[in-house]
């Protein structure tokens, strides 16, 4: 496809607090709910929205269940209303307000703001390698802002994943999960906050330009495609018996070669990566993933070609 045409993106949502203790998104959305002038663009209706208010109030990731895994077809059609887990009720509510997909009232673009304790810099998480709209947006942001490169360690990367997140349900739309780290849960770091704010500024500028009819020529984008999740070594009772090795800790997006140190046991023994080839690890030592049996995620580096895009 040499030129892909899409309808205008008229309605844009910005989600914060999908995890109640990821403070950049919570703070930005609260700020914009009070005063949305910064996120207004010509001919675009932008709606900032706190997706999990109870978790935000308690400054916890979730109340009953992880909202960012709650958007399953079963959950969305479940009956029982007030008896359902809080986040399932929220998923249904969000689907009502911003969807459902295919309907004329559905939102066109959704940004879901997250933080991670991993040293990932700014990461855009997309569903598909054919998502030309988001790939072009990412390219636009990288090309437009040199300041962003000096603010954070890694430039924007793309990760293709298969979580049952907000993204899955709304997958007809253009969804960008934006993950910025490292930041502890419950903490607001100024540099992380400002980086997320600047990325969204450029993203909205891109949407405005697109809506005005600007054609974005074909471009190549470096992306990291998720391969598998690696758990901590555990004993027979399920307790972890080793920690992420100091050499791997904070090494998101750096190559991990077969034989490189991967874990360190509590009594000082090194466990090495046994894979067959070099991978690029990410989500290294994310706090929320201990319960999901995930020490880090392996990815493969690829170069994708995004076709030119223009408004239909």
């Amino acid at each position: 496809v040499s030129l892909a045409r899409f309808d205008e993106a008229r309605r844009v949502a910005i989600f914060g607090g999908t995890h109640g203790n990821e403070m950049s998104g919570v703070t930005l959305v609260n700020l914009w709910v009070k005063n949305g002038s910064e996120i207004q663009r010509k001919m675009v209706d932008t709606k900032p929205f706190i997706t999990n208010p109870r978790a935000v109030e308690k400054c916890t990731r979730y109340v009953d269940t992880d909202l960012n895994r709650a958007f399953t077809p079963e959950n969305l059609s479940a009956l029982g209303e007030g008896d359902l887990p809080y986040e399932v009720q929220r998923a249904q509510e969000i689907n009502r307000i911003f969807g459902p997909k295919g309907s004329p009232e559905a939102y066109d673009v959704i940004f879901d703001l997250h933080n991670t304790t991993s040293n990932m810099g700014c990461t855009l998480i997309l569903e598909s390698s054919k998502d030309y709209f988001n790939l072009q947006m990412m390219n636009y942001i990288k090309v437009t802002d040199i300041r962003l490169k000096s603010l954070l360690k890694a430039s924007i990367q793309l990760v293709e994943c298969c979580f049952t997140s907000v993204n899955i349900v709304l997958c007809d739309w253009f969804i960008a999960g934006l993950e910025v780290g490292p930041q502890p849960q419950g903490v607001l770091r100024s540099n992380i906050f400002e980086a997320m704010r600047v990325i969204l500024k450029h993203a909205l500028d891109f949407i405005e330009l697109f809506n005005e009819g600007v054609e974005f020529p074909t471009c190549t984008v470096e992306v990291f495609r998720v391969l598998e999740r690696i758990d901590y070594p555990r004993d027979a009772n399920g307790n972890i018996i080793a920690m992420v090795h100091p050499n791997l800790q904070d090494g998101d997006w750096e190559p991990l070669n077969p034989g490189d140190p991967m874990f360190l046991t509590f009594d000082g023994k090194t466990l090495h990566y046994q894979g067959s080839g070099t991978i690029y690890p990410t989500f290294i030592n994310e706090a929320a993933y201990y319960e999901k049996q995930q020490a880090f995620v392996t990815t493969r580096r690829e170069t994708l070609v995004a076709s030119a895009i223009r408004k239909a």
Binding site: Q183, P184, V187, R189, S190, N239
Partner: protein
């Protein structure tokens, strides 16, 4: 325990008079029992895992020292939260330890009284000789040894650890409250202190932090054994950060919501002298707030758990504490 201070007048090479105060060696009773606590805050993982390893290896006695390992707040550890009802590490004032327990008493108040019975009672002869409590902070503080009163034993342990640990800076912080008002679990011991290591996000276990905490605990036990076996530890000086002054976040006057973040130039710069005019906050609307008043040392900059009380950091002064040589009292 008595101390004699001798006064000497000396002639230096340049011919001027110089007064030297020399403290005589102080003898202290042996330290036979050592309690090590972790999980006082359930999401500060280093202590939880250090304890797990010590318990797995049945560490009960090392030479002359009996060791008790205590998981302070098991419910909070299970939930990986700081606390369930209220902060356990604020429950050890004399008043709270003697308050009556009813059905509606919060979990942590009950637990504090249990710990007091087990490791104390606070202020009594039965209390454990030395208590060490392991903590983490999201602030960039390296390894801190935090104690209430600057007794010479603890200062010597500080001095020893500072001379041996090279993986990160080691600093002493003194709270200096009257014992009855001391609120943390380490106040239960005859001598008590906390290890505080950061930065580490709560709910995360970093290998480098674990290794330093393990080294600090091992060195403390080593020091105790050497002390008990008669070694004299030479006196000297220890720098300590004292006289804490709390700085709160700027807040919206109507909603009480925090309206600024720690400024990027202050972030991660714990223990770097803050001068008048230095930036401290960057508001959400982009204005810089500057430090006014004396030049002081910030600590606990952007600690996650302090948002609840809207505390941004504490300011401290640096003091030099002099310690005499010490050794164990022989009967």
């Amino acid at each position: 325990m008595s101390v004699l201070i001798s006064l000497y007048l000396e002639q230096s090479n340049s011919g001027t008079n110089r007064t030297t105060y020399v403290m005589e060696c102080v003898s202290l009773p042996p330290l036979s029992n050592f309690a090590i606590c972790g999980g006082t805050h359930g999401n500060e993982l280093t202590g939880v895992y250090i304890l797990r390893e010590m318990q797995k290896h049945n560490v009960e006695k090392v030479g002359s020292v009996s060791i008790t390992t205590v998981l302070s707040n098991p419910r909070a550890v299970d939930a990986c939260r700081r606390y369930t009802d209220r902060d356990l590490n604020r429950c050890f004032t004399d008043d709270l330890l003697s308050s009556p327990i009813t059905e509606s008493t919060p979990y942590e108040l009950r637990r504090a009284q249990e710990l007091n019975a087990h490791l104390g009672p606070k202020g009594s002869e039965e209390a454990v000789d030395l208590l060490c409590d392991m903590h983490n902070t999201t602030s960039n503080m390296g390894l801190c040894i935090i104690f209430n009163s600057a007794d010479w034993l603890i200062l010597h342990i500080c001095k020893y650890l500072q001379s041996k640990i090279t993986s990160m800076p080691v600093r002493a912080l003194q709270m200096d409250l009257p014992l009855s008002e001391a609120f943390s679990v380490d106040s239960l011991g005859k001598h008590g202190f906390s290890f505080e290591i950061g930065p580490q996000p709560h709910g995360v276990l970093r290998a480098d932090v674990f290794n330093t905490m393990k080294e600090a605990v091992d060195l403390t036990i080593e020091w105790l054994q050497q002390f008990n076996s008669g070694r004299t530890f030479e006196g000297g000086e220890v720098e300590a950060y004292t006289r804490w002054k709390t700085v709160h976040y700027p807040r919206d006057p109507t909603t009480d919501e925090i309206t600024a973040a720690i400024h990027p130039q202050l972030q991660d710069n714990d223990f770097k002298l803050l001068q008048p005019g230095d930036p401290i906050f960057l508001s959400l609307s982009g204005e810089t707030v500057k430090h006014e008043g004396d030049a002081l040392y910030p600590v606990f900059v952007n600690e996650c758990a302090y948002y609840e009380q809207k505390i941004a950091y504490h300011l401290t002064q640096k003091s030099t504490l002099t310690l005499p040589s010490i050794n164990v009292k022989k009967d």
